[in-house]
Symmetry: D2
Subunit: 301 residues, 4 copies
């Protein structure tokens, strides 16, 4: 009976790279969490303990910081593509590199007409993400860019129902015409190619997601996600497909009747667990081949 | 040898109260985390297991939700004062009540000229807090209001030095004329009395903290905190004293010399642990008596 | 240009099910975190807002609790298989169900010769996991069971080296003959079939992982993982393949030379971020078909 | 109107010190999280930005690591006392030093008759803590040692009631003769003096807490805490007083009646928030003076 090494990858996770642009008195800040990994033929390291083909994770870390200066960070996507290509060049046995970046947004502190030159306050709200996968070399090299956002917490205090659902012997839920709908949205969208205005497109997608959530009636979180995805694809030509993971953050109406009080959608308890979890993809019919990139975007196991 | 019951308190922690104001089509949301506790003569519960004087924590929870409707939540301070007074009335053996509230800020989703009527996005950034302590009954009753904010993450990319410090045989730190200064600020300030415009004053204090951080040169985080506190007391008559807890979130300059690159304050690694922790109070000389409220504001142990 | 609904799933996540067996004075506790989800043809819910085919997540929650009584929980795997099969029966449009369970271990409090009958202390250490996927109906129905553990934190204070690695212009790491090797292990293994003694096999795999980590010399974390996986497959016939995700929790030797002290592997700083992240699979050559179960074991995006 | 600097302290928090004893082939591991802080006359640093009296937090960090070698860590208490005394010597303007330590327990990996010589698995369960406060110099110097444990999660599946409580118009809770009682205990106890066998006493106190929780009937969590505290003081002469903070981790009986199932204390949902929070002190009547140490043990604000 034989036993073999299967899929494997290695890298340095969560390099907290902070890049300050200070070419003028008006500084810019780019605040990143960068993870890099390599796949390829690293059987010797696993089976024989031979590291000769292994570019250390420490070197990957050094490179992530060096590239913040050497290449610069005009966008997480541009920076990640450069890093991924470099790691393939630097590691002959690697067949693919994946660079994951989270970017934390900062605002200028309001002081003076245009905000302060070098003092910032972290914005909170959504974190911007990208996962860049580079595979192959030379003319065969392909690049997939899957960008997104996470922790975008949104809530509608009306304009949401849930009724007409399937019932069985374990069903006790009442139908409702008016409920709070809230989620902490994770979205990822795959770009067609790399000729994209990364920052402008990110802002446009985020705005479309927010506006669609706000302005459409919801008969289920599923419908709302599908509408949000459809609207992104309709308005953003560079996006091939988009995926959502959306916890249904339940807000339960509190029964105030025992205290002689009416509660017409005014007082809720925000629950922690359990929560609904709704996940869906919306895709352009003529989208290019994603290969297995989506499964590699998620964690290894 | 005698053994006695010492200090004790009990209550319901982290009630996630969400109050929607929907008197018009333009809804308002107030999103709170409410903890209540009672102190007093509860020896029977501890020593004899007799609950006759104990208002259950479940009842405290019910009251927190009922009061969100019955009293309303124009501000966390006003709501907490009402709750605290009620609990003293409801519990004859209680001598004091403490109500702790965290408020999470939400913005309207940008849709239409003034934002959407009933769709919201969580702002992130600082959480607003208050701790209200009510003690005594009738004419003897006193109320202390300690409000604040937490998780206000701020950073200056220049305008900060650290030098001229005490050295001993374990000192290896180099002096610096230019460094990143960053913290995740926790501030609490004690109000004089309760005739305060709570929401307006909160906004004013937050603005003063941000602006002072941004516009003053820093020779140490200690100096910056003292300046921030002084400026709040100078501009806000209702504040008797203010306290800060400020982790010095280190951003270390990365050594890029091995790669032939200069790093003139451009590339940093944001470190997790350890971190400096600077804590200080700034107080008005004629401030009223705080009794032992500050020690009870922190956790019991 | 067409736009279509792609992959989708929905369910109730993180039901905290606690099952007490109290048929005799000697109680047993089973403490679970249960997440359920369904895949299938739910286009109507997404596109038309029609819930007629949707078994609510609230019903899934009810069923998870009811089954803890009705079916019982002899092991997380047996319970999850029953739940998964039930959900397919209850939801005609579903083509697959996935049940994820985390089990938190408890010990009896030491009181009396065999531990206390009904008082327990949570053990800490590794959490046991399982992900059961059920697809199809009747004779076509297939079941995949992927069990595992997470948060198994292990450390070797010697017997680990890292040298002979690939170097490039960004490499500064020194080779080492003796270092601390530490990880917080996540492992998942796929069983062949369901005729398995789930609890006994779980204990055997955990013991094999620990013993192999302890007793083998490490020339890299990759080699150690491969050895651990190989040993599990050699000793546990029911396991078809095993996968690891192992952060290299760096312990850096502290430079005490400035203080006139030697540090021969005695004083380390445990670092938080960044960390190496090593991931690998070890598989039996004659393992059965896994279909796409591994990619669905990870989160949706 | 004058404005003054009030209470203040500064230090380095969360130094992750790992000390390996490797004098023989059988290694020992001591895994600590160490925070140090100084109080005293540091007005110049705050008001004038003058650091001449300030021993940098970076130096405090260096010292924490150096002392792990130079002084050693036979117990967190002994190590913390040495560090605290040193910092007072090193910092003329300091009047007090406080050292906080958390210790994470590890077990030897079972391999061979007595466990492996140099391979360890983190135990989980309770974390051991100490907070040592040193004040004054020479003959006036006083030392307070407040040790404890946190995250000790315990549960009784029967032997707990809650009834006979005070009721008002907001009370809806039913009385119960049989419920689950569970908490994640935080305890801190103050020692008399420093002539204590620190490790032996810690083990004895933890055993007494567990055994008392297990073997006594509970009419409320308050009564259980008081019994636990009393028993510790009766059995451990070195302990002057003990304090508890105990979240009542609610396990709610799930209503299975809609599904035709009985639930006689067998199926519970473990709730997250809100939770009861019960806090109490038990003290020896002839205990020495604690000064204000308890309030300084908690966080500054």
């Amino acid at each position: 009976m034989g036993i073999s090494l299967g899929a494997n990858q290695y890298g340095k996770a969560e390099n907290r790279v902070v890049r300050i642009y200070r070419d003028s008195a008006r500084h810019e800040i780019v605040d990143l969490n960068v993870s890099t990994s390599l796949r390829g033929d690293f059987a010797a390291a696993h089976i024989d303990g031979n590291q000769v083909d292994v570019l250390p994770t420490d070197t990957q870390k050094n490179t992530a910081f060096a590239y913040a200066k050497q290449h610069g960070v005009t966008s997480p996507e541009d920076y990640a593509i450069a890093l991924g290509r470099h790691f393939l060049d630097a590691t002959p046995k690697a067949t693919g590199a994946q660079i994951r970046v989270e970017q934390y947004p900062w605002d200028r502190i309001p002081a003076g007409p245009n905000g302060h030159d070098h003092a910032f306050v972290r914005r909170g709200g959504a974190t911007r993400t990208t996962v860049v996968t580079v595979r192959g070399r030379g003319a065969e090299q392909r690049v997939w860019v899957v960008s997104g956002l996470q922790d975008l917490v949104v809530l509608k205090s009306t304009g949401s129902e849930f009724k007409g659902f399937l019932k069985d012997e374990y069903t006790t839920l009442n139908e409702t015409d008016d409920r709070i709908l809230a989620t902490s949205l994770v979205a990822r969208w795959r770009y067609e190619g790399t000729a994209v205005d990364w920052n402008k497109t990110y802002d446009a997608v985020q705005s479309t997601l927010l506006e669609t959530f706000a302005t459409t009636y919801s008969r289920a979180l599923q419908e709302t996600l599908y509408l949000m995805g459809t609207r992104v694809l309709e308005t953003t030509g560079d996006v091939a497909e988009i995926r959502f993971s959306a916890p249904n953050k339940h807000h339960f109406l509190v029964d105030l009747a025992p205290f002689g009080l009416e509660n017409n959608g005014e007082v809720f308890i925000a629950a922690d667990r359990p929560y609904g979890l709704i996940e869906a993809a919306v895709t352009r019919d003529d989208a290019s081949d994603a290969d297995d990139v989506w499964s590699s975007v998620t964690s290894f196991i």
